[in-house]
Symmetry: C2
């Protein structure tokens, strides 16, 4: 009796609620700083309070929600400092990955496919770009086959998505330019030029970071975080 290739998904209620909250946060239905009271959510989902409590605690561990002792959980309001940290971390992880891929001349097919999808987008569709862009970067990480690296990068990307829902309407993404830069990165990997690929990715993510910070700052977000930038690149 050979098992089917599609794995059976035994999912608990807590998993389901956490997943639903995630998608609702990514879709922008749950905006930053919105309070998520346990009793309210318990009635809304028709489950007991401990159940939603577990789901909330899981999302807090992921960094998507924030809460203090005896305080109600809120959707994480990622300020400029947090966005800076997230994108710098992305650069740290992914640039090293590019060096390793370049050593092996390994260009993941999934990355090529995702970037081709970006190339087919017209210039006027900013939001549709997010998903294939995430797939592009994730496929590079996944290509090295490290479960932990993939998990860490996915965690960073979930925070990115949380920011993105606030700037979805802004046309700050240029599909053509991004497509070209992605292709250049893949070319450098294929040529074994790890240093150049890492440097280009640094610029690529650095510009995205600056655009995102500017977009978030323009809406007068929470300036509570220390605005001190991380290490400067020469």
């Amino acid at each position: 009796m050979t098992p089917s290739s599609i794995p059976v998904t035994a999912t608990s209620i807590v998993d389901a609620i956490a997943a639903d909250l995630r998608t609702r946060m990514f879709s922008g239905e749950l905006t930053a700083d919105m309070p998520l009271t346990e009793t309210d959510m318990a009635t809304a989902y028709n489950v007991a309070r401990p159940t939603v409590k577990a789901a909330i605690e899981r999302l807090v561990a992921e960094g998507l929600l924030v809460r203090g002792l005896h305080k109600t959980a809120r959707v994480a309001a990622l300020g400029p400092a947090a966005v800076s940290d997230i994108y710098h971390s992305r650069a740290y992880l992914e640039s090293e990955i590019l060096r390793r891929l370049a050593l092996m001349r390994l260009v993941p097919a999934e990355a090529v496919a995702a970037n081709a999808e970006i190339g087919r987008l017209s210039e006027g569709t900013p939001t549709d770009l997010i998903e294939p862009d995430i797939r592009f970067h994730l496929s590079l990480i996944d290509a090295v086959g490290s479960d932990r690296m993939s998990k860490m990068y996915r965690s960073l990307m979930s925070e990115v998505r949380l920011c993105m829902n606030r700037v979805q309407s802004l046309g700050l993404l240029a599909p053509g330019l991004i497509h070209a830069e992605h292709e250049q990165i893949l070319r450098l990997i294929a040529a074994g030029k790890g240093d150049a690929a890492a440097a280009l990715l640094d610029d690529h993510l650095g510009r995205a970071r600056e655009r995102l910070i500017k977009a978030l700052g323009g809406e007068a977000g929470p300036q509570a975080d220390a605005p001190t930038d991380l290490l400067a690149r020469p």
Copy 2:
């Protein structure tokens, strides 16, 4: 009224139990594959079952415990494949960090102090080396000032500690050699030679990984994981 520099620590029972379990796992009191039944732990800690349940779920999220649906949680048994993944991930994160530090010629004082502590150890004290060694590597990561990078690396190091309790008695660590390699890494950072520092760290962690895998394999650990190695370094 300026707040004191030491932050107030409001800790819940769940936090305390999770912390206690962590230290007991690191100390080797809780060995690999040891089952942690919720009811047993509830009576042992004199708390209700949901409380220990929350603590268990937190440790599962950290990767220190593993559990399936309706199955009792067990201390993670990190096999050769997991150790390989952990150390490769460490190398990915830390080598990129070394490049950034080298660009700024930034040698963290804490790293110097930790390595000096290693230097003062005699050759015959293997277990005392673990703590300052961890401090050395953590201080390098912390020096870039990224909360997320620090958190991710700390997560990896907690898994390392989980392995270490199984090979504590083995004298597979040579303080003199490790001290010398650490000092060489710091020298390369001070000289701005990021590539060389990253390469040396790769060797440093690579050898530690091989020794650890050999030590774990010698005790006939769970060979369940796929033994396929990750990307080879040329």
